[in-house]
Symmetry: C2
Subunit: 248 residues, 2 copies
């Protein structure tokens, strides 16, 4: 302990680690370290505040317990992300939902391929066994940060030209429109929590085993015919799925 | 490897571990080991099938990879639970939602106490600083199994007698009715994924660090006045939060 750990007269009730935690919290609140930013190392903070590392660690531990920062193994200490709200409205509109929240939406295609439906996909999409589906795998980004990995299946016989449309448009809404579906709605969504596997962790910038939100959904056209069976995996600390009330 | 690991003529393409996995899978599908049940130990399965433990472990590993069983550290191997659907409808009715799904709902009270609102609770419930709230902490069960831990705050000045009503009724709907609120709706719900801390793991029968679904919600009476600010933590592998479409 350095002499800084001893309180000076008149401030006897605030230990120095607490003062450091308060100072860092204020700097985070002021935006000096924005959400997702890495804090300086323990060594740098020790030098800055003139205390030993034990004291810095206690301050960081306090911020961690209060959810203000989060450490990642071998990477350092980061300002906790404010989860981006992702509204689960009746209409499924990734681009519009994020843009309305002031975020810049983006999609990256990992794969578009046609293959026979799995038994589960055939059941959900009301297809015959081995009827073809177009599988679209990709990443959803908000403000340049990956927020979700998705894999979704479209009944290709029902949606002529969907594979080409998905390769051409980043928006599923536009691709479906090009394939003849003017409007579609969320028919069913199930939300569970899982641990990220190695591949999901890589894509989402998480550690393996970190919590992820999984959604499984079916979207229908306005005649009630299934047009999409989607799986998405969201970074648990970066996204809050939200339901708005529809008013009394 | 015992001689059982060598294929007999005519079945050359099915290794014995795979045959054991198929057999156990069939027994699970028949309900011999229902969801959540513990499988016999490796020693017992080795004796039953006349193979060494390595072979049993490979069979269990295969079932684990396919999500049919799940191992818990130091406890054994369990049949994966089929997640109970928990519908997030516009009306928040724990008892009715589960009962309609064919489940037996139950609530256990851990704590009912009156204290000043936290800044966050005051903001959500539109209270003045330090206005009192009644905090209700407890466990939600479905078919005798804990599915959620909850902590919810009620604005006590707005709801005369709510503390006594919560102690008397297991249903929040009935307690609110006793406090003068005939009907209330879900105004806002946010869903995130977190890791279970030690206390949550204990209540939910999980390992520390297991994924949990967290919901934070505000419920309003029909005039739009907030009557409840709720936090709930659901066992990630046991509950699927579901949204139904409202039709075209």
């Amino acid at each position: 302990m350095t002499t800084h750990d001893q309180a000076t007269p008149g401030t006897a009730r605030t230990p120095i680690w607490k003062a450091i935690a308060d100072r860092l919290e204020a700097e985070i609140a002021q935006g000096l370290y924005p959400p997702g930013a890495q804090l300086p190392t323990e060594a740098v903070l020790s030098a800055r505040f003139g205390v030993n590392r034990h004291t810095v660690r206690r301050a960081l531990g306090d911020l961690g317990t209060r959810g203000i920062v989060r450490s990642r193994r071998g990477a350092g200490v980061f300002v906790a992300s404010v989860p981006t709200d992702y509204p689960l409205g009746r209409r499924v509109r990734f681009h519009r939902s994020l843009a309305e929240g002031g975020h810049l939406p983006e999609r990256r295609v990992l794969r578009v391929e046609t293959r026979p439906a799995t038994p589960r996909e055939a059941e959900v999409l009301q297809l015959g066994p081995d009827d073809p589906v177009v599988v679209y795998e990709g990443l959803s980004l908000s403000d340049g940060q990956v927020i979700a990995l998705f894999e979704t299946a479209f009944p290709s016989a029902r949606l002529p030209g969907i594979a080409e449309a998905l390769a051409r448009h980043t928006s599923v809404t536009e691709a479906l429109r090009a394939a003849g579906v003017d409007d579609y709605v969320r028919a069913e969504t199930r939300i569970t929590a899982e641990r990220a596997n190695a591949m999901q962790a890589l894509h989402l910038g998480l550690d393996e085993g970190d919590p992820i939100l999984r959604t499984v959904s079916r979207n229908d056209d306005l005649a009630g015919v299934p047009v999409e069976h989607g799986n998405a995996w969201f970074a648990g600390d970066r996204i809050a799925l939200t339901l708005a009330g529809s008013g009394p």
